[in-house]
């Protein structure tokens, strides 16, 4: 056996390992973030658009609230190297970090306080919804949708 052949296989294998390692250790993930407010009764004095369509149906299927309003919508990024904070409203912030293969860690802050850290894969086309109740029998929802294909 020629001495070059084992070396060539070794180099090729190490290159493939490096590529695989880079892939699994994370790439930035692009998400659509929506802050939504849910209410039992329709809100008359709000400028927020009503959430309609498939998202509204999904939320109504799970939650008791009948009316949903979009407070803010933004395209956000979950970087791989360090977490990035995004402001959804005066009282709501989220911090995102990607860990590869659509695995995302989300830290949610309400009125400056850290409420929860959630780590969850969000496959392309799917969504992660963080939710909690608010005063006057309303609720807040942070919907993160993986918009990659």
């Amino acid at each position: 056996m020629k001495p070059f052949q084992p070396l060539a296989w070794l180099v090729l294998s190490l290159m493939l390992c490096g590529i695989g390692a880079a892939e699994s250790f994370g790439a930035e993930l692009n998400l659509k973030a929506q802050l939504i407010w849910g209410s039992e009764e329709p809100l008359k004095d709000t400028k927020c658009p009503v959430v309609e369509g498939a998202l509204a149906e999904k939320l109504k299927k799970v939650f008791k609230w009948k009316h949903y309003y979009e407070v803010k919508k933004a395209d956000v990024a979950a970087p791989a190297d360090k977490p990035k904070r995004h402001t959804m409203s005066d009282k709501c912030q989220i911090e995102l970090q990607s860990f590869g293969k659509a695995d995302v860690e989300v830290k949610i802050f309400g009125e400056g306080k850290h409420l929860r850290t959630v780590r969850q894969p969000i496959p392309p086309g799917e969504m992660l919804v963080l939710a909690g109740d608010d005063k006057n029998d309303t609720a807040w929802f942070v919907v993160l949708t993986n918009t990659s294909k």
Binding site: P3, P6, L7, W9, L10, S13, L14, L16, C17, I19, G20, A21, E23, S24, K58, K61, V62, K101, A102, D103, I108, G110, H114, L115, R116, T117, V118, Q120, P121, I122, P123, G125, E126, M127, L128, V129, L130, A131, G132, D133
Partner: protein, 151 residues
Amino acid sequence: MNSDLEIQAYLDNELTSAQARQVALRMDKDADAERLFRELRAVKKALAEAEPEHKLTEPREFYFAQIVQRIDRAEALAAEQRVEVPWWRRAIAPIAGVAAVSAVAFLLARTATPTTNFAQETGPRTHESGAITFRSHADGMTIVWIDGQKE
């Protein structure tokens, strides 16, 4: 020690002087013990006499020297046939094997979809302190309800 074993040991000169004296005294008084001793002695003598004698064709020293010579020759031959391989060449095969397996594992992991870890059914999934996680596979949605808004 068992009395029969003591008699066997006495026959084989494996007892101390004091023990041997005691056994001899017992055999003087005990006819069964004395009979056992005689039987054991007869068996020992018969075995010794019946062992076939193997006669060497050459003197003992010469025979042994031949054995030593054959061993030395075999060792020298084995040393000649052993080829000195550099350490880095010896390490190539196992390292290449490990690297190849790792590469395949990474490539397979890349093609796996994250949804394989999800529960398939709709319904309550986990209940941690302060949060309930709920997965709807049909709707492609994972919900984390934060209870009391505190972690």
